[in-house]
Amino acid sequence: MTAPLDVPARLSAVAVWDVPLLRRAVGSLTSVVERLPSWRARLEGVARSLEAGESWSGQAARAAVAAVREASTVAWAVDAALTASLAELDRLVVEADPAQERAHEALALAAALPGGPDAALRDADRLAAAVGALVPGAGVLHPAGAAAEAAMGHASAAAVAAEQAGAALAAVGVRDAFAPADFAALAARVPLAHPVCVLPVPSGPPGDVAAWWAALPLTAQLAVIASTPQALGRLDGVPAWARDRANRLVLDRALAHRRLPEPEVATARVVAARIAAEEATGGQVQLHLLDLAGDRVGLALGDLDTADAVALVVPGIFNTPADDLTGLVADAEDVGAATRAAAPATAVATMVWLGYRTPSHPGEAVVRTSAGRGGPALAAALDGLGAARGAVAAPAARTTVVAHSYGTYVVDEAADEPGRLAADAVVLLGSPGMEDDAASLEAPAVFDAATPADPISWAGWFGDGHTWEEGYGSTALPTEASMGHSHYLDPARPTLAAIGEVVAGRRAPE
C-alpha cells in the first residue's frame, strides 16, 4: 500500500532544492560524457597502431589488438548508457526549476489560508477540498492549489527522471546503483561476440555522417569498411583512417580486376606505386579519396585525423592522377617540409586534392564547368575533415587550402557553397582571376602570390579580381620577379617557405 503523500512536507522539501548546484553537477557529468567519444577514438587509434604491426607483430600482438578492441567496444556501450542516463538527468534539471518555483508559490499562498499551509496542503484530496471550500465557484482551483498541483507534477517528473537516470545504466550491468564488479563482468554485459549488422552508408551533410560514424562501435565500423568500401571511402565526414582503409580495399580490388578500363587501371597502378614509395621511406600515407571512374584522387602525407596543421594542395589544369600524382605529391611534401621548418613541433598533414577532374584541354581551362563541379566537392571535403574531428571532440586542425592556377577558381566556387568555407587560410598561387574579393572566400586569412613573369595571373579569365591588386584584399607572399606560373612551390624560391608559415599559422595576414 502506498503511503499517503504528505503534500506540505514534499513541497517544503522541493522548495529547498539547490537547483544551481543540481545544474552544476549535471553540467559536470555532461562534460564527462562529451569526452568519451574522443577517448574511445584515441583508444581505437592504439588498436589500429597495434594492428598495423609496425611496432609489434605475432600472436601476442594479435591478442593485444583483440583486447584493446574489446575495451573500445565496451567503452562504446558505456558511452551509450551514460548518454541515455544523462538525457534523464537533463530532464531532472528541466523539471526541478519549475517544481521549486511553484512549490515556493504554493507554500506562500497556502500560508494565507485558514490553518496555514499544513492544514491547507495536508494531502492532495484535502488540499482540493480546502481550496474548493474557500473559493467561490465550483471547479475553480485556488491559486495555492494550482501552484501546489503544478509543483507536485514537476517534482514527480523530476523523481521519475532521477529513477530513469539509474535505470538507463542497466544495459551495462548496473544494479541498484552498483557497477559490475570488474571489467570482465562489465564486458559480459556487452554483446562483443554478436553478429554485426552492416548498416547502410548514409547520405547527407558531413556533420550528419560524422555523427553516424562516431556512434558506431568499432566492430560495426570495421564491418561497414569491409562491406561497402567504395561508398565509404568517398564519404565526407568519415575519419581519414577509415577512408584510407576503405580506399585501399577499393585499390586492391581494382588492381586485381582484369576488366576495368585501362585508364582506371593505370591510375590505380600509379596510386599504388606512390603509396608504396612513400611508405618505403617510413612516411604515413592516407588514401583519402579514390574514384577511379571519376578520375579523382586524394592522397595525404601524414595523419589527417590528428595533425595540428592540414593543407590541401589543389592543382589547376591538365593534372590527372595517372600523369601527375608523383609531381603533385612532391609538391605536397615540399609544403609539409616548409611547414615543419616554420614550426618544428607541429604535426603536419598535406593532401594532394585531385577531388575534381581538372580541365584537360585549353577550351575547358577558360570556362567554369570543372570548377563548378570541384567547388562543391572541395567545400564538402573541408567540412568533412572538420566534422570527423568534431564528432569525437578531437581538437580541430588549422586547415589551409593551397590552390594553384585554375585551382584558385575551384576555391572561389567552394566558397559560394552554403555555409562558411571550413578553412583557416587560403593561399592563391598564380590565380587567373577571381569572381569577387578575398573576403568572399570566407576564410579568416587569404594570401596570394603572383608575378609579372606569370601571364596567367594577369589573365582575368574568371573575373576582375586580380589577386595581386590591392583592392582584392589578400596578403601578398614573397616572390621573385623571374618566377613563372609553375615556380610558386619551388623550394629554391621564397614563396614556399612563406606558404609553410601560413600552413603552420606563423604568418599573419596584413
Partner: protein
Amino acid sequence: MSTPTAVEAVLVHPEGVTALAAELTVLAAELSDDADRCRAAAGALTSALDGDDGWTAGAAATAWAGLEELLAEQAAALAGTLTGAVQSYLAEDARIARGTGPGRSGVPR
C-alpha cells in the same frame, strides 16, 4: 593432436610498443579523473535534492563513476600488458644472447 602451423614472424619495436603503452596510461589517467568528477557530481546531486530524489540521482552518478573506473582500470591493465610484453621480449633476448655467445653450448633454459 594439434595441427602444425607455419612459424609466424615476431617483430617488436620496444620504443613503438612503449609509446602505445604510454598512450594507454594517459587514457587510463584521464578516465580515472573523470570518475572522480562523477563521484563529486554524485555528492552534489545528493546535496542539491533533498531526500529520496537526491539519493537516487546521486546513486546514478556513483554508478557512472564505477563504470568509468572500470574502463580506466582496463586501459591501465592493457598499458601494463604492453609494458610487460616489451620487458619480457627484452629479457628473453638477453637470456638468449647469454647462451649464444662465443664458446657457449646452447641457449640457457
